[in-house]
């Protein structure tokens, strides 16, 4: 029934469906919506200690301040415990303060300036308790938000003992601020019959609906949540949008007025969770060729003060320590450490990057130890290219059936001219001077599906109007990743319509219920299939109508180019709109819903085994860097990427995800450093102090190619998820910097470079901060 692919909008590099709105400033975000009459503006009072009891919260001056209409405290909230999985977070502190920047109270006033001014008038007394502020302290104190988990296969300890070579190491990885350009924002409007509508910048409208209902003591059908688009999210608006939605909802119900809560950037950065910092220890045993024989890893993560999504994040870290490599005898222990900092959360990659950076570091160190090319050591450790003959099973028991890493490596090593450039880098480094270069080629294998099986479902609602135009609703949210654009292509393709006949409605819990977060790269896989299913139901009915008009077999009806054609007893060649008008008059249902649940997947959360992922997405990146040994500054000189997006639905959007993901990963590993002061306050709470990459940091030589290859699994048009996997292409940047550090100090072992590789981290890795030897400067 499908139109032939040649005439299709599938695989076309069409522009983002909002592109013209974006560039003209006419795309509306929540703060841009016309405010309902009487809308109140909210500001928050935040804690100025990391841990302690709130003893006095005197808000009398706040209440009396000009313009203040309502004040909300933890004591005012009947159901003051919330959370994505475990309800262990207060909406507002009622007794125990657990991080510096935790919201204590909220003020609603006529204007934002009045609300912010009033906040400063609060009198707060606290009883300070000792705070645990780092993962190392929490690990030593066995201070956990969730119990430790071990993933093991084979006899890792014995394999280590008997291995011809052994190495060990430690790797500290910093967290990462999402820095979505649009900060957290929610507008709540009370409506009749005890209902509430929220416009919320969120990846998870259903969870907002449920949590708002929970704090209000209301049912789900009283709360509706809508989101047309977000100004970026990256995981930071999955669970982290809930607190602001709840506060806005509570104040709206309390005052009976519309309430907008938009966080100031500094408050947003202080009060919302980030990527988990990790501290990892490892021991590896290997043979003379660099093949890993046994590996023990401990991943200690800084979860912050509450569970949030830390369980699944750390599970994914566990399930990605292998990256693209077969680990026969392996033991990975995951510690979910509790600290008195903001609760760390989902962020593109969701623990995957932290797990994968460990194994990439291990492989680089093995190669250096054996004086082999790390490229060869990586190839030697890959999973088997075809399943069924051994070396094909992950530590969590899933067979790798679709291994593309060897093929990607084989092509990229040529495309990037890796071997010759590695020799040129070595020659450059032989020449001496204060600069050193490094080059690295690293793979990505990333599991696609939510680890928790039940999230892998989606619904869609497709309306065909009698005039032949189409409106699609689905459960996914648009955060810039191009989901709406791809869904539009999928539905237009089904009906054989040009793109302009299909529109996407804002995502709204009143249209599609019980949705999962738009996360885990799954948005198109899940919602695309659901929208396709809905469209096909309607299409079948339309085909019946068309067949009836010309006496043809319904299966022979063709929908393409905005026309409907069939050859029966008569010839039918009708415009799509003419057919829909006729179908309407014939009382045929022209709208329908679709549902999709990912097949094949299962995962035992206790044993941590099963097939958690429908398939894997692959990629490879080759990066060359230079470092300045005088200052530790680094520069990325050239990047070559080959990435597997399956059969791409939209190459422009997929390449955009790849480039953007890489640069975001590069930022995580280089300039983006979160610094906490001794009192637990976040010192880097604004873009003046927290430095995401700018245009200058991106090399002019930045070559990205898609690896054309159909997904072997039956995904939407055989495409692959592309949101998160490219982030980890940036691990090549870190490998290359470590290689440059190693080249600067021959014999240096270990290469004790912490991530991010800030100038100071690089100088430390070069041998501490004592070396200032002018005789060494400028000499080989």
């Amino acid at each position: 029934m499908n139109a032939p692919v040649t005439a299709s909008v599938i695989g076309v590099a069409s522009a983002h469906e909002s592109a013209e709105l974006h560039v003209s400033g006419r795309a509306t975000y929540i703060d841009d919506l016309p405010e309902p009459h009487g809308t109140l503006q909210v500001a928050l009072g935040l804690s100025s200690i990391a841990h302690g009891h709130l003893r006095v919260l005197d808000l009398s001056a706040v209440r009396a301040a000009p313009g203040v209409v309502a004040v909300l405290t933890g004591a005012d909230i009947a159901h003051n415990r919330s959370g994505a999985i475990i309800a262990d977070e207060p909406i507002l502190v009622d007794d125990l303060i657990q991080f510096h920047g935790q919201p204590l109270f909220a003020v609603a006033a006529l204007t934002r300036a009045q609300a912010r001014a009033a906040v400063r008038l609060a009198r707060v007394e606290v009883e300070t308790l000792p705070a645990i502020l780092s993962v190392a302290e929490a690990r030593a104190a066995q201070h956990f938000v969730l119990p430790p988990v071990t993933l093991a296969r084979g006899a890792a300890e014995a394999a280590l003992q008997s291995a011809p070579h052994r190495l060990s190491g430690q790797l500290a990885q910093g967290g990462q601020e999402h820095f979505y350009l649009e900060g957290q924002v929610c507008l709540a409007q009370p409506r009749e019959q005890d209902t509430l509508h929220l416009w919320c910048s969120t990846q998870h409208p259903t969870e907002m609906q449920h949590l708002v209902g929970h704090v209000l003591g209301w049912s789900a059908h009283q709360v509706s949540v809508e989101c047309r688009r977000m100004g970026g999210a990256f995981g930071g608006k999955e669970s982290q949008s809930a607190q602001w939605a709840c506060i806005a909802a509570l104040l709206a119900v309390r005052t009976g007025r519309p309430v907008k809560l938009r966080l100031d950037r500094d408050d947003d950065m202080r009060a919302t969770g980030k990527r988990h910092p990790f501290l990892s220890q490892w021991q590896v045993g290997f043979d003379d060729h660099g093949q890993i024989l046994g590996l023990q890893v401990e991943l200690a993560s800084d979860c912050g003060f509450s569970a949030d999504l830390s369980g699944p994040v750390n599970d994914r870290a566990l399930c990605h320590v292998d990256n693209a490599y077969f680990l026969d005898a392996v033991q990975i222990r995951s510690l979910r450490c509790k600290t008195h900092t903001v609760s760390h959360t989902a962020f593109r990659g969701f623990g995957g990057p932290q797990g994968m950076l460990v194994i990439e570091t291990v492989l680089d160190d093995i190669a250096r130890h054996l004086q082999l090319d790390p490229f060869d050591v990586r190839c030697r450790n890959f999973y088997a290219e075809t399943a069924g003959a051994g070396r094909d099973t992950t530590p969590y028991g899933m067979t790798v059936e679709d291994n593309l890493a060897p093929a990607l490596f084989a092509q990229l090593v040529q495309d990037a001219n890796y071997r010759a450039r590695r020799a040129a880098v070595a020659a450059f480094n032989q020449g001496g001077g204060p600069l050193r270069k490094g080059i690295a080629l690293t793979p990505v294998k990333f599991g696609i599906s939510f680890n928790a099986t039940h999230y892998n479902q989606a619904g869609a609602l497709v309306h065909v109007y009698a005039d032949g135009t189409v409106l699609v609703s689905h459960g996914g949210t648009e955060m810039g990743q191009g989901l709406y654009t791809k869904i539009r292509q999928v539905v237009a393709h089904e009906f054989g319509l040009p793109l302009d006949k299909v529109r996407l409605s804002a995502t709204d819990t009143t249209r599609v219920p019980n949705t999962s977060a738009t996360a885990a790269s799954s948005g198109t896989d899940l919602n695309g299939k659901a929208a396709q299913a809905a469209a096909r139901k309607i299409l079948q009915r339309l085909a019946q109508v068309a067949a009836g008009l010309c006496g043809a077999d319904p299966a022979a009806v063709r929908f393409e180019g905005g026309r409907v054609r069939a050859q029966g007893t008569q010839t039918l060649d009708s415009g799509f709109a003419e057919l829909t008008a006729q179908a309407y008059r014939a009382r045929v249902q022209l709208w329908d819903s679709g549902f999709y649940a990912t097949p094949k997947i299962h995962f035992d959360p206790v044993t941590k085994t099963g097939r958690p992922f429908f398939y894997f997405a692959y990629g490879a990146a080759c990066t060359e860097v230079a470092i300045d040994t005088l200052t530790g500054e680094t520069r990325v000189l050239r990047v070559d990427i080959l990435h597997d997006a399956g059969r791409s639905l939209n190459p422009a959007i997929d390449i955009g995800q790849i480039e953007g993901g890489f640069v975001q990963g590069m930022g995580w590993l280089t300039s983006e450093q979160l610094c906490w002061r001794a009192d637990g306050a976040l010192a880097t709470h604004a873009p003046s102090t927290y430095k995401i990459p700018t245009a200058t940091d991106v090399p002019q030589a930045f070559h990205v190619q898609l690896y054309a290859h159909d997904n072997r699994e039956d995904t939407i048009h055989r495409s692959k998820a592309v949101g998160e996997p490219p982030f980890m292409l940036a691990l090549s940047v870190f490998s290359a910097i470590r290689a440059a550090v190693a080249a600067a100090v021959p014999g240096l072992q270990p290469i004790a470079l912490d991530a991010p590789a800030t100038p100071e981290a690089v100088v430390r890795a070069l041998g501490g901060l004592e070396r200032t030897d002018p005789d060494a400067v400028g000499r080989p």
């Binding site: 560039v23 979505y180 970026g232 005088l630 520069r635």
Partner: protein, 528 residues
Amino acid sequence: MSATPIRFVFRGALHQVSDVASTTTVLEWLRLQVRAMGTKEGCNEGDCGACTVVIGELDVDAPGGVSLRAINACIHLLAMLDGKALFTVEDLAAADAPLHPVQQAMVDCHGAQCGFCTPGFVMSLYSLYENRQQPPDHGEICHALAGNLCRCTGYKPIIAAALLAWQQPSQRLDRSGVHAQLQAIAQRPDLDYQAPANVGAGRVQAPATLAGLAQALDAAPKACILAGATDIGLWINKQGRHLPHLIHLDRVPELQAITQSADGALQIGAAVTHTRAWAALVAQVPALADLARRFAAPTVCNAGTLGGNVANGSPIGDAMPALLALDATLLLQQGAGTREVALADFYLGYQRSVLQPGEFLRSIHVPALPTSMSMPTSIPSAAGAAQSAGLPVQAAGLHVQVASYKVSKRADQDITAVCAAFRIELQEGRIVQARVAFGGMAATPVRARQCEAVLGGAAFTADTLRAAQQALHAELTPMSDLRASAAYRQQVAANLLARFWLEVQQTLGGAPDNDGRAVRLDQVEASA
């Protein structure tokens, strides 16, 4: 003096505003009063660029007599628009009209994903487009976008869009129309804006003469001097600071002037933007080009002033090390009286200076460097140029070299961990003059005088370098903060002196093993 409204050109017409608070920002006015929602708030501190707008003003040197520059609307006060024109993303293409070439190029190159930063990028590109007839190169584009953060795209398609914009049919602003509108308000009286009580009383004055400025400050010595607001904007937005009386320097011609005296010295007025000031400084001392590029993004340099950087006296202000190395002096004025103070004597402590209440910085004086005569090939032309410019001609054999290095976590639009400036004059192998100055190494920008003393009179050898580094270590006691540890700053300060030594050796051809080797990251390219 009677109160005056704020007058500026907006949406093709003259606007008069008299109902906003004195500290209302351009962004607040656009979003809360006009409800023009194309300009976004990303950070409200001038570091993300989502609020980028373009300001036009009369400028006899600019095409059509109107200059255009991109700035951050979030830290620009509405009162500062008095006498100017404001352009936002909504001005580029009417709802029913084709997109502007930079907008169309952004669509064609897939330069927007989430779209929130996009209007800001469009306005920075629009400013670049209006200021250039010929297409920019990759480096110029990156520099033009240094103040715009994008978290989605990785910038590559935006850079591609910038290149593409110039290939589309040209569409330029009708500057003559804007010129006529600005000319119509050019003769307005001194601004004395007084906010109505219902929005919180506050006053902004903008005297049009030097005498008027001196008089206003004399009458209100506690008033806050306003220049580019790149710092004051943060005081308002982030610290909630109450600033009841602001006096804006913008309209005083003497403070906007850059002049060069007969001996080659530059005088830079206190209200000259960084963009203009650094262009003049780099023309005088080309070795400062790298620092000028990395000083800050154009959106900051187009508003912030060199005088503000000096008068604020932040220990991490990047202009001061270079100005200290060049022996800059300051002209201060109070009432009708003036005095000259060496920059090296200006700071008393952390953000404290010799400025008295009511006294203001009038201009910065940068003496001409002695002309370098060490390179035989350059003698005839350099001497000729020096003579024709009326500069003193030095004896043959003098070698003058200057460098300034900035070290930060990110190359563009970042605050210094360590900023160093060095100047050395060598004659017959001996150092006859040395200046070593730092930012980020003390409570104020400082000259390292003990280090200078070690260098003075010595040959610039590796031994001298080592002794100078030891002196640095002894005399500087930096602090640890989020930007760097004290130990790192100590080592990098010494290492930057080593880099300068390397570069001097290279210039003089005295270090064969380093000859021609790159010593700065921006000099290397990817391996072939």
